[in-house]
């Protein structure tokens, strides 16, 4: 499959630019390459910007909402990030240093996110921040993190239209989720007409805009486009409209509590998704959401994601087992949780490639950093700080898991400012 040749094009660790550093750094890198637990490079060498790095430890920040309305979405990410940190520590840490973390609560409140990121950067001098979930919280952090030159690892799939030198986007930007999903519906299912439905905020609107452009390009038809306020719980009218328009595909980006109401009411209105008349393709329902909606209400819908808990590869089996061991057997892992898990690992890879914790040194090395142990398979950082990753289509099963029915041959290129889709 496409993976191998793309992997071959990627640069292995330690080669290339990482080696055109001072002699000391070179020596350090070599030592690292030869023995993971060997002598660690001196702190003065790997940290010239006053980060919280000692001879034995390095401090990072975790910044998510533990309280408030977003807590339910963000808790999975916190768990994944902590798991990754534990695993990295168990395998010898980063540049021979154990990772310690400072966790702050964004409290589902955007100024709090800005405030806490400022605290993490100014008071705790963290070497990296893993955090934020909603676009609004990321937008609040962004000026702060650019001002103090920090580095944020942001896990959520999002609308794109952003490319900050101080953020690494470990989730998908919109085109990575949408284009392949629509192509699949057209090719595999013969879809001709689409109904776009979303919650009313930036991500669904931008996503639907991209979807509409793509559908237009394919010469197919959008028969309806509709937005409901966040938290809306009455969908009978739109269900009637859908019945009237008889689209082949409902392309849904409804989020939060509205999701639960929407699928329950669709089900109650006599729509059986397993008939695929219409077929429902969502970009917002992960395994996490299904827990609240109920498997019986979404059985048969398709989701376009990069990761499903049911992915059949050795990395993922290991990851799922470790996650369940850490947090309990009844945990489910969604797309964003996996993307959050990538954050610390990618940071470690970048730090070790740069031989330094300094943000500026790391930034030079991002392009081409790859991670072979990713649960989703293989990922690589694009020079625009997003990840190359595959798009997969899963069909929801009664037990709340997705069955993967399709995956793209190649890794999809991230394109946060897609030409012709704006």
């Amino acid at each position: 499959m496409g993976t191998t040749d793309i992997a071959a094009r990627g640069r292995p660790f330690g080669k290339g630019t990482g080696f055109r550093k001072s002699l000391m750094t070179l020596a350090a890198s070599v030592m690292l390459a030869t023995s993971a637990h060997g002598a660690t490079p001196a702190t003065a060498e790997v940290n010239t910007t006053g980060l919280a790095v000692t001879d034995d430890t390095v401090t990072v920040g975790i910044l998510h909402s533990i309280t408030g309305t977003m807590a339910l979405s963000e808790i999975g990410s916190v768990q994944a990030e902590k798991l990754a940190i534990d695993q990295i520590n168990a395998s010898g840490g980063v540049l021979g240093r154990q990772i310690e973390f400072v966790q702050e609560d964004g409290a589902s409140d955007w100024p709090t996110f800005a405030e806490k990121s400022r605290k993490l950067l100014r008071q705790d001098n963290v070497a990296a921040i893993f955090g934020a979930w909603t676009s609004a919280s990321r937008k609040a952090i962004l000026p702060v993190i650019e001002q103090y030159n920090g580095m944020l690892y942001y896990p959520t799939f999002y609308e794109g239209l952003e490319q900050s030198p101080n953020v690494v986007y470990t989730g998908q930007e919109a085109t990575q989720q949408i284009l392949a999903g629509i192509d699949w519906a057209v090719e595999a299912k013969g879809a001709k007409t689409f109904y776009l439905l979303g919650s009313d905020y930036i991500w669904p609107r931008t996503s639907n805009k991209i979807a509409r452009k793509h559908i237009d390009k394919l010469g197919l038809k959008v028969v309806g486009e509709e937005y409901y306020p966040l938290g809306h719980t009455q969908f009978n009218s739109v269900i009637n409209k859908i019945k009237l328009k008889k689209p082949d595909v409902i392309f849904a980006s409804v989020v939060g509590g509205s999701n639960v109401a929407f699928y329950k009411q669709m089900k109650a209105a006599g729509v059986d998704f397993t008939d695929e008349k219409p077929l429902l393709l969502t970009i917002s329902v992960t395994e996490d959401e299904i827990r609240g909606i109920g498997g019986e209400n979404v059985e048969g819908i398709y989701a376009s994601m990069k990761y499903f808990q049911s992915l059949d590869n050795p990395n993922n089996k290991e990851f799922v087992a470790a996650f369940k061991e850490a947090y309990g057997d009844d945990m489910v892992i969604g797309d964003v949780t996996q993307a959050a898990y990538l954050g610390p690992w990618l940071w470690k890879a970048a730090v070790e490639k740069a031989g330094s914790f300094d943000i500026d040194e790391i930034r030079k090395e991002f392009a081409g950093i790859e991670f072979n142990k990713a649960p989703e398979g293989y990922v690589r950082i694009h020079e625009n700080h997003h990840l190359w990753s595959k798009t997969r289509i899963g069909q929801a099963q009664l037990d709340g898991q997705y069955k993967v029915v399709y995956e793209t041959e190649e890794l999809m290129e991230p394109d946060p400012f897609p030409e012709g889709y704006q």
Partner: protein, 308 residues
């Protein structure tokens, strides 16, 4: 937008849309009934109304879990029991809250607003601590899922019908209780003239507690019913609060009939506009129209004339 459809298709869509309006209507009635009693009859602004509804929903969730584990044979009927339990749990908590908090505040209605807002924060966090931050999925018995096909296009959701029946029974029940029972007479007497009612020997404190508990209990039943169509999570209750208050205020706070009429008007307006406009704009327009009418007619649709 109706080009290319046969008249029978259009008829069925209008029938379905009428049904959608009616089910929104019953949702509003369920939401507003409990509040209409508490706010309309007692003047207490219960900002925790949504949280009482969610308490009913969680009770249903627990009951369904209990039946699944211990009485799987009777699972089909658990919902009725869950509604009764939801009523009892919410009414009991309501009575407790009334005793601890509300009764000290009857002469300061705006302060009940703040205090019950505090209560709602506490209840939300309690749900979060007990049930987790994620929404819980409440499983329905088989017979309540699906739809009755009238024609090919006209399909009536069973749970929608069920919600309607509950709403109707509660409305009738409350009406009978308020206008055809001794208790109702006392409540109305206290509402209209508290000192006089006390003077003729009505235990107004007892009436208050019972009324508050009744309102909360009805909220619990509403919450139980909403597990069929909505989400059950720690902060789901807040989604209902603005709509609920507007329905009650729009109807004329002290008139139960007014509440029902206003629920009907708002639900029909909203579902019709939703059909022709995008959902967000429909919502904004509905709210604007309601606020606009309230500015012109502040006492609401059906005002009760009382001497104050």
């Amino acid at each position: 937008m109706f080009d290319g459809y046969t008249s029978s298709e259009l008829m069925s869509i209008f029938a379905m849309q009428g049904f959608a309006g009616l089910s929104l209507f019953s949702v509003f009635v369920l939401m507003a009934m409990g509040l209409a009693i508490i706010f309309g009859q007692m003047g207490v602004i219960n900002m925790a109304h949504g949280e009482f509804m969610i308490l009913g929903a969680y009770t249903t969730y627990l009951t369904s879990g209990f039946f699944q584990s211990y009485l799987p044979g009777l699972f089909g009927g658990y919902f009725l029991i869950a509604m009764v339990l939801a009523f009892i749990v919410c009414a009991a908590l309501g009575a407790l809250v009334e005793w601890l908090m509300i009764r000290h505040l009857y002469h300061r209605p705006l302060d009940t607003l703040l205090a019950t807002w505090g209560l709602s924060l506490i209840m939300q966090q309690a749900y979060r601590s007990i049930f987790g931050a994620r929404e819980v999925g409440v499983e329905l018995p088989e017979w309540m899922i699906g739809a009755i096909s009238v024609t090919d296009l006209v399909e009536l959701p069973i749970n929608g019908l069920f919600v309607m029946i509950i709403a109707l029974s509660i409305a009738v029940g409350v009406y009978l209780l308020m206008y055809r029972s001794g208790y109702g007479k006392k409540v109305r007497a206290v509402v209209q003239n508290r000192p006089m009612a006390e003077a003729v020997g009505i235990n107004s404190a007892g009436i208050d507690r019972a009324t508050f508990a009744l309102g909360c209990g009805i909220a619990g039943i509403a919450g139980a019913a909403f597990t069929m169509i909505g989400s059950t999570g720690p902060s789901s209750g807040q989604a209902y609060i603005v709509d609920t208050f507007l329905v009650v205020v729009f109807g004329g706070a002290q008139s139960l009939i007014g509440t029902i009429i206003s629920a009907f008007g708002i639900s029909q307006a909203q579902s019709t506009m939703e059909f022709f406009l995008s959902g967000s704009m429909a919502k904004v327009l509905t709210l604007l129209v309601v606020v606009g009418i309230l500015m012109l007619r502040p006492e609401g649709l059906m005002a009760l004339k009382v001497r104050r």
